[in-house]
């Protein structure tokens, strides 16, 4: 039996390096399969999604992953048009959705919502983003991309740039990186620094520096992970404009980077990475999005097949 069979994916903190490596192997296996054998993996299986906050991209990534392995998807992507708006509890909605499907994908604004849903659901639950800190499948996709592009994760210098306070992908990625021997540099505006109460455990596993100045580190970095800086996070527009420009990755900054540095972004981007970077060999964010589909397909295949695939 494979260890992921019938299990939930709630928090990236529940996984270790061996498990990541196993998921990476299965992801590579999926990528190597021809489309018709790929479609046998979850043939006849149904995924249901339940999104309490909109994220078209994450939902579509799960849907396309499920389609690629022969399964289908149904669900609620806009909770405001559904019965939950009329006051149905999360517990009841989860119970119903687990009747309709073999696996449930949940996105919810509250911390711990996926753990709670997994206790209610009769089917495995995948956390597709909950609260402010957890987005495990995004972290797996990011780690896989780093591994695939750099052929290793240990020993790398990784810069994470932008809104580190509110970006839930950042916390999950840091937890995942805690399993590896890496040097992490966190670079953000002062007001968007990582929240110290949220990294109590990360601190024990990972050494990192914090800075406001990207240029101090840019020439050393192997991986440049850029996140979106959202205007609504700032108290006033002036402050936003002041900060915005200083973290834009453009061709001038690219010249200072290592030749083989890779640039990642969880997408969607605003203007943190200028469009002329897209065609350079360093830009790997679209690759990263594609990897997201394959890592999710691998996870679905592992959870839904007792003996793997």
């Amino acid at each position: 039996m494979n260890e992921f069979y019938n299990k939930d994916i709630i928090s990236i903190k529940d996984y270790n390096k061996d498990q990541f490596e196993k998921i990476f192997d299965y992801t590579q296996k999926i990528m190597n399969l021809d489309p018709s054998s790929r479609r046998e993996i979850c043939k006849g299986k149904t995924l249901s999604y339940l999104f309490y906050e909109p994220s078209t991209r994450t939902r579509l990534s799960f849907e396309s992953a499920m389609a690629s392995i022969g399964g289908n998807s149904l669900g609620i992507s806009d909770i405001s048009s559904s019965s939950t708006q009329k006051g149905e509890s999360l517990a009841d909605t989860v119970k119903i959705m687990s009747i309709y499907s073999d696996i449930l994908v949940l996105r919810h604004p509250l911390d711990g919502s996926s753990r709670f849903a997994s206790e209610i659901s009769t089917k495995p639950v995948i956390n597709a983003g909950s609260g402010t800190e957890e987005h495990p499948t995004q972290a797996i996709q990011d780690l896989f991309t780093i591994k695939k592009e750099k052929k290793k994760i240990d020993g790398l210098k990784i810069g994470i740039i932008g809104d580190l306070k509110y970006g839930r992908t950042v916390y999950s990625l840091l937890s995942g990186l805690g399993n590896y021997d890496v040097n992490v540099h966190l670079i953000s505006p002062e007001s968007l620094r990582i929240r110290s109460d949220s990294i109590y455990e990360i601190r024990k596993k990972l050494s990192f520096t914090e800075s406001t100045n990207l240029e101090d580190y840019i020439e050393d970095l192997d991986v440049i992970y850029v996140t979106r800086i959202q205007k609504e996070r700032f108290p006033d527009e002036e402050e936003y404009l002041k900060v915005k420009g200083s973290y834009v990755i453009g061709l001038d900054l690219l010249k200072k980077m290592k030749d083989d540095a890779i640039i990642l972004h969880p997408l969607p981007r605003l203007d943190e990475i200028s469009n002329d970077i897209d065609k350079t060999k360093n830009a790997k964010y679209f690759q990263q999005a594609e990897n997201g589909k394959h890592t999710r397909a691998a996870l679905l295949g592992l959870i839904l097949n007792e003996n793997g695939f």
């Binding site: 999360l90 509250l110 911390d111 711990g112 919502s113 753990r115 709670f116 109460d197």
Partner: protein, 153 residues
């Protein structure tokens, strides 16, 4: 018999929770869900002199023998409490409270965005990470909680 013990009637059968930190007596009752509705006699003494300059709270619950599972929940509220089981006016068992591996229901997670603080029908569960340092962690949101800032449900 000490003066402090005389202040509260002796019981024939039941449990005496002694050496509760001053002012924590009512929280202890809440944590144990002791409300007297089952008709049993409950005596509560607050601010009982204990030693030269100190005070303590005492609770006596008649006809009820509290088990470890119940009383260990008190280790966070009243770490110095002692549990005395009385049968036929005699002390037959005396024990200290010690932190269990998990504590459910009695505390509220301090993270306002935690699902346990929502309208969902859900009770808080905290895992004890470090018994000596009294470090608790919310099982749902994963937040590490400061024992001194916990609020009671």
């Amino acid at each position: 018999m000490q003066e402090s013990e005389l202040m509260v009637r002796r019981i024939k059968e039941g449990t005496v929770i002694d050496h509760i930190d001053e002012g924590k007596g009512l929280q202890v009752l809440g944590a144990l869900q002791i409300d007297g509705r089952d008709g049993s006699l409950i005596t509560i003494a607050l601010n009982v002199p204990s030693g030269k300059f100190k005070k303590k709270d005492i609770i006596k619950v008649e006809n009820k023998f509290l088990a470890d599972d119940d009383t260990n929940k008190l280790a966070v509220i009243a770490p110095k409490a002692s549990i005395n089981i009385i049968k036929n006016y005699k002390l037959i068992e005396k024990r200290r409270v010690s932190l269990p591996n998990e504590i459910d229901r009695i505390f509220r997670c301090s993270n306002p965005d935690c699902i346990t603080n929502s309208h969902e029908h859900i009770e808080s569960v905290m895992d004890v990470m470090d018994k000596e340092g009294r470090v608790l962690k919310c099982r749902y949101c994963g937040r590490v909680l400061d024992v001194n800032q916990l609020k009671y449900n």
